[in-house]
């Protein structure tokens, strides 16, 4: 294969940067641009087209896998486009730039009594990223994904078109761009409907369950009476105890329940403490976790946590701030670094009610048997939505954080192929913001060929020169994958 003749004018070497995924399991070089104006994005499209480069879009870089990497190409980081364009505290409608983060969002609206109806597990992502991934929270079965609260967005397509989309206008683009992982266009402004709340606190209830079956049953039966449910699953014990864990439900307070809502809605009441027990600075905690991040250490840690949940923390009801409950992942800063130099992958699969228990049980046991148990498992309840590249089902999701190390990589690779098979056979789905394992064939299996074809047709329409690309896109939608 000869590849000359299309010699390009070099991009400035100054732009070369090392970019990483959130899991620290992948890194690569890219020519990094951080535009502040839409005109600069248009200009970059033109430069990339002329030089034969592809462009990957990036927000806060919080995807676990390769969604915000475009190795060897141009990466457009939109974090500097972070103005709040309009806020109406009467209606709860906010219009923002794509680089505005979840943190900026709640900091801006909370004191007026508004909260985003859908919040991911961390406040670091940009809203452009949230929209591109169509994130969900611990209330997905009830509230749906983030995209359902978008009243309108404007986007720049690589074909040069500026479009405005809403659930009733340009609907194909609306349901296509949301959840498309930044492959069809760049969001240039986003208008969201926030949710009215009457306190900065949630009414939280915590209890422990002895195995996976009980956890799933509890998550399912709790969905009628609660606003949020989430289950922590311990994937390290042997035998029937596998999948034991703790559940948290949470509910918004009704008007009048909070005697001083203005106090609890203030950001001062929400901001997470920077020490644990008032003593240990949180910023260093991951360094102490790191030596314990092995099968033995995590088993011991999880067992201790479970026993505490089972005894002193069992059936506890308490008030917790919205921020502390929703952004659990921000509680220990840089926790992902505790996984060591190989980083981690998150393996999140979505399974229908009927097949979930058997499949998850088999998956947990298989990983345990292979000596590759997940160090953190999280169960949530979901419902389907109408977006083109949807990950949701009427059922459960189980997110498994798995450590990657050089030594165990071949075994992990084999395990993941088997897990994917189990999920696909059980009629399950996957989530691009988390994924780093799927092949194009597996993607077309769970999305269905028709959906993939529709997506490709939309791609050809929005981006005839195939300018927008990421490593994830190439892996999941073209055949350039070594895992065939």
């Amino acid at each position: 294969m000869t590849l000359n003749g299309d010699a390009v004018i070099p991009l400035p070497t100054d732009r070369l940067a090392r970019l990483e995924n959130f899991g620290h399991s992948l890194s690569g070089p890219a020519y990094l641009y951080r535009p502040t104006e839409i005109e600069q994005i248009e200009e970059l499209f033109e430069i990339a087209r002329r030089h034969g480069f592809s462009i990957g879009l990036r927000g806060a870089g919080r995807s676990y896998g390769d969604a915000a990497l475009n190795n060897g190409g141009v990466v457009l980081d939109l974090q500097r486009m972070h103005r709040i364009l309009d806020w109406n505290p009467q209606t709860g409608i906010i219009k923002v730039d794509p680089g505005v983060t979840i943190e900026q969002l709640w900091m801006h609206t909370l004191e007026d009594g508004w909260w985003s109806p859908v919040m991911p597990g961390t406040m670091a992502p940009t809203l452009g990223g949230c929209l591109a991934s169509n994130v969900h929270g611990k209330n997905n079965w009830k509230a749906g994904p983030f995209g359902e609260y978008v009243l309108e967005f404007s986007a720049l397509l690589p074909n040069g078109e500026h479009v405005v989309c809403s659930p009733t206008k340009n609907t194909e683009l609306f349901f296509g761009l949301i959840g498309c992982m930044g492959i069809l266009g760049v969001f240039t402004s986003i208008t969201l409907q926030m949710k009215r709340i009457y306190s900065g606190n949630l009414d939280v209830f915590a209890w422990a369950e002895p195995n996976l079956k009980h956890i799933l049953d509890a998550v399912d039966s709790g969905k009628e009476d609660n606003d949020y449910i989430v289950g922590w699953v311990d994937c390290t014990p042997r035998g029937s105890r596998i999948g034991r864990g703790q559940l948290h439900t949470a509910n918004y307070l009704a008007p009048g329940d909070d005697p001083s809502p203005l106090q609890s809605l203030r950001s001062e009441s929400q901001i997470l403490p920077d020490t644990i027990l008032g003593l240990v600075p949180k910023a260093i905690v991951w360094r102490f976790m790191r030596p314990a991040m092995n099968n033995m250490g995590v088993w011991a840690g999880n067992t201790a946590k479970y026993l505490a949940n089972r005894t002193i923390g069992h059936k506890k009801r308490y008030l917790q701030s919205l921020v502390a409950f929703n952004f659990l992942l921000d509680y220990v800063p840089n926790w992902e670094r505790a996984y060591g130099s190989g980083g981690l992958i998150q393996y999140q699969s979505f399974l229908p009610i009927a097949t979930a228990y058997d499949a998850y049980n088999e998956m947990l046991k298989l990983s345990k048997r292979r000596g590759l148990p997940s160090y953190l498992g999280v169960v949530k309840r979901h419902r389907p939505d109408k977006f083109l590249l949807s990950h949701a089902v009427d059922g459960f999701s189980l997110a498994l954080d798995i450590k990657v190390s050089k030594r165990k990589r071949p075994g992990l690779r084999k395990l993941i192929r088997e897990l994917n098979k189990i999920v696909l056979q059980a009629g399950g789905r996957f989530y691009f913001a988390k994924d780093s394992t799927l092949t194009a064939q597996e993607v077309s299996e769970y999305l269905g060929e028709e959906t993939v074809n529709n997506f490709k047709a939309l791609k050809a329409r929005c981006d005839p020169h195939n300018l927008l690309q990421t490593d994830l896109f190439r892996r999941c939608f073209t055949s350039s994958n070594s895992e065939q």
Partner: protein, 262 residues
């Protein structure tokens, strides 16, 4: 996008190293291309002779049963094209883990011959081309905080001899350049390896050979280079005994050395 070859995407579970070999159409470069490909590397092969490159790439891809080698015809003295070609390779391969500079020119010169054209060509190919290519790799690897630079120097770098002053100085210059790169880049996590082959049975050697003892095959040299790359060594002689030989030769005092005619 132009016709980008389908280079497999790295995942956390399967990453493949990539190497660029400048001067891959014959000799040590070709042997190293085969060796690195065999070790799982995707290789970008550069040289002037496109036909030779194509046939090497074909052999590699045929053996591997997949596209593992990519061909970029290039003359290292086209300095102005190097930045954009480097970028094209980076674009195609998605990342680069090692750059090996093998290109070398050596012309037989008479003991009292001073022909600037020959001398200049040797300096250009052996030294200036290397500076141009390794500089590109140095920037990338420094930013990435990882990578490996390999330069094929020569035992001829260790002493200026009567035989071929320009060749000696081109290789001495390359060795010093590599040393300086090493001092710059080690602190950024980049390994720089200087390879000093003795007599290796290549076209270059056959055209120039006067002595012929201890000649090794290019494959043997390539194996030694790969071992050194894997161990992240700083400098090797190949075959290894040249290290002792050169230790002696380096210490021959000038008063004797200038009377010798080897």
């Amino acid at each position: 996008m132009s016709a980008t070859p389908s280079v497999p995407v790295d995942t956390p579970l399967l990453t493949r190293p990539r190497a660029v070999i400048v001067g891959a159409s014959s000799g040590i470069g070709a042997a190293l291309a085969h060796k690195l490909a065999q070790e799982g590397y995707l290789v970008a092969l550069l040289a002037r002779n496109q036909d030779n490159l194509e046939s090497i790439a074909q052999q590699i891809n045929h053996t591997a049963g997949e596209t593992q080698a990519f061909v970029y015809p290039h003359d290292v003295t086209d300095y102005d094209l190097i930045p954009s070609l480097f970028q094209t390779i980076l674009r195609d391969l998605k990342k680069i883990d090692a750059l090996v500079y093998v290109s070398g020119a050596q012309f037989p010169v008479g003991i009292s011959e001073f022909e600037f054209e020959k001398d200049r060509n040797m300096l250009e190919v052996n030294l200036l081309g290397a500076v141009a290519w390794l500089g590109q790799a140095a920037v990338l690897f420094e930013r990435m905080g990882v990578g490996q630079i390999v330069g094929i120097s020569s035992v001829a770098a260790d002493r200026g001899r009567v035989g071929n002053p320009a060749y000696n100085s081109s290789k001495a210059g390359l060795s010093t350049y590599l040393e300086a790169l090493r001092n710059r880049l080690t602190r950024h996590g980049v390994n720089v390896l200087t390879v000093k082959p003795g007599f290796v049975d290549t076209k270059l050697f056959r055209e120039n050979a006067k002595a012929s003892f201890g000649v090794i095959s290019p494959e043997k040299a390539a194996n030694a280079i790969w071992r050194a790359m894997r161990k992240r060594k700083q400098q090797i002689y190949t075959p290894g005994w040249w290290r002792w030989m050169m230790l002696v030769i380096r210490h021959v005092p000038s008063i004797i050395f200038r009377r010798l005619s080897f």
